[in-house]
Symmetry: C2
Subunit: 298 residues, 2 copies
């Protein structure tokens, strides 16, 4: 393990602990005779995660000179959207997962109705936080962030991708179609994490650069996820593995083959790094993070 | 049936036909290899509804002089939030309803996974539409609308109310607690419909008046809903009736008794009308609408 990587592990760990406190501070209070919704939302946050999207958002924000108090709120918003999508995806009617990050999923720990409501509540909360003036002095910027986040997460973004993914179980798909499906399902939220800092900094000339960066990073992330499903073990990954194969589902890995998939994800990460190298030293954490995306074992 | 009522029936019917076209125009396009999500969202819109919230919003907007092109977009937003809540509430893990407005519910017509995603997509779409500059020139106004809609529909609003309602099945509740539960579950979206026009008109002095109006109207609406569950028949109401009683669930009607509940809702509507009478002739449609809320049979 080289020193860059040790450095990144430290960054990830410090960020994650600090960021969890921020996430918790935005959760709703106990309702007047029930704390179940509140407890379930806390549980989902506490079960944790890599917090990759917020970390990417914060690193690009720091490159572009965005104030931390502003980028932090948008980072909380995107993570809550991510939380909602995981809770709903894990439901029996969807991916039917009992385990997430080594812990019972929300509907197993609580019940299905609670998990549906938890997801719904996380989604509203994300938009509520971003709409608040503490997120940015300029309300035009806040509106742009909301438009982009809603598009990225909605029917023509993440939710559409999830629908296609469910449909894909009964179809033979070309590599091109799987790329498109994954662009919607996971790529769109990565795109938002990468362009939100440009909106916050009101640096619209940088939008294309970071959009380009995100499309390579998102796809590399997805290939690595599919590789972990094939090669990872349940203890490291923290959820059932081998699921895609069992469901006869075509993935980027099943179509490319393991070796080509590894090479493809490596190439994509190298290309993504080339895009941000011009930002020099300020981009070092982001470069480490890009490398981490394909070297991780969970 | 008096002439005011015939007039209102015509207004409701014209509004509803015209408004459905508007709702349809905002739905997402077919995705690149599946039209299932799109079809399911169209289905939910086509199954229809009374469109009460958008109509109230538009009537108050007209009293306050808001441009129709602005109020229409917020009305679409609130109706999409209402659509999402119905689709999720009907799910087997929640209220488990097969029938809504005389048609199979979304998860029966399609499947559960699709219904979950349809609800999620309607929610994002609502915020996307309101965030767009066509909703209002002033982005501060758009942000205020989003903050209020997110609060009204989230964990400390509608979703919280739904959670309490599920919890209530196992509890004995006082009348006061049921009032509070219903204020969250249905009252909050009524509140948004009534205050959104003040935000659009930037007439902040009127906020309290219409907030007060909404709290009486919302509660009267809920008592009428509970009465329809007891006294209505499945053909008129378009969904299973007698459910609350069957589930041993306490409602405003079971606690007040049928006659007192009728009187309470009548009193509330009269009080709500007194609040808006000072607006004179411009408020006539809204007054008819308030009367309709307790005279309806579905």
């Amino acid at each position: 393990m080289n020193s860059d990587f040790i450095n990144l592990e430290t960054i990830l760990s410090i960020f994650s602990t600090d960021f969890e406190k921020k996430l918790m501070s935005f959760l709703p209070k106990t309702l007047f005779f029930s704390n179940k919704l509140n407890k379930a939302m806390q549980y989902v946050v506490k079960v944790g995660g890599k917090r990759l999207r917020p970390l990417i958002l914060n690193e690009i924000s720091s490159i572009l000179g965005v104030k931390k108090e502003n980028s932090d709120r948008v980072a909380v918003g995107i993570e809550f959207i991510h939380c909602y999508s995981l809770v709903h995806d894990d439901l029996p009617a969807m991916d039917d997962d009992d385990l997430r990050r080594g812990h019972p999923t929300c509907h197993v720990k609580f019940d299905e109705a609670t998990a549906i409501l938890v997801g719904d509540a996380f989604q509203s909360l994300a938009f509520e936080i971003i709409s608040h003036k503490k997120t940015h002095n300029n309300s035009e910027v806040r509106c742009n962030l909301i438009t982009e986040l809603a598009k990225s997460s909605g029917a023509e973004g993440m939710v559409g991708g999830q629908m296609l993914d469910l449909e894909a179980e009964r179809k033979t798909l070309s590599l091109e179609k799987i790329f498109e499906l994954q662009r919607l399902k996971t790529g769109e939220l990565f795109r938002f994490s990468c362009i939100a800092p440009c909106l916050l900094a009101e640096k619209y000339d940088e939008l294309e650069i970071f959009e380009n960066f995100s499309s390579k990073l998102g796809l590399a992330f997805q290939i690595k996820d599919d590789l972990l499903d094939v090669e990872g073990n349940i203890i490291d990954v923290g959820k059932k593995t081998g699921k895609d194969h069992k469901q006869g589902k075509e993935t980027l890995v099943s179509l490319l083959g393991i070796e080509n998939a590894k090479k493809k994800s490596q190439d994509l990460i190298e290309e993504s790094i080339q895009i941000i190298e011009p930002f020099g030293e300020k981009a070092q954490n982001l470069i480490d993070l890009a490398n981490f995306i394909i070297s991780r074992n969970k």
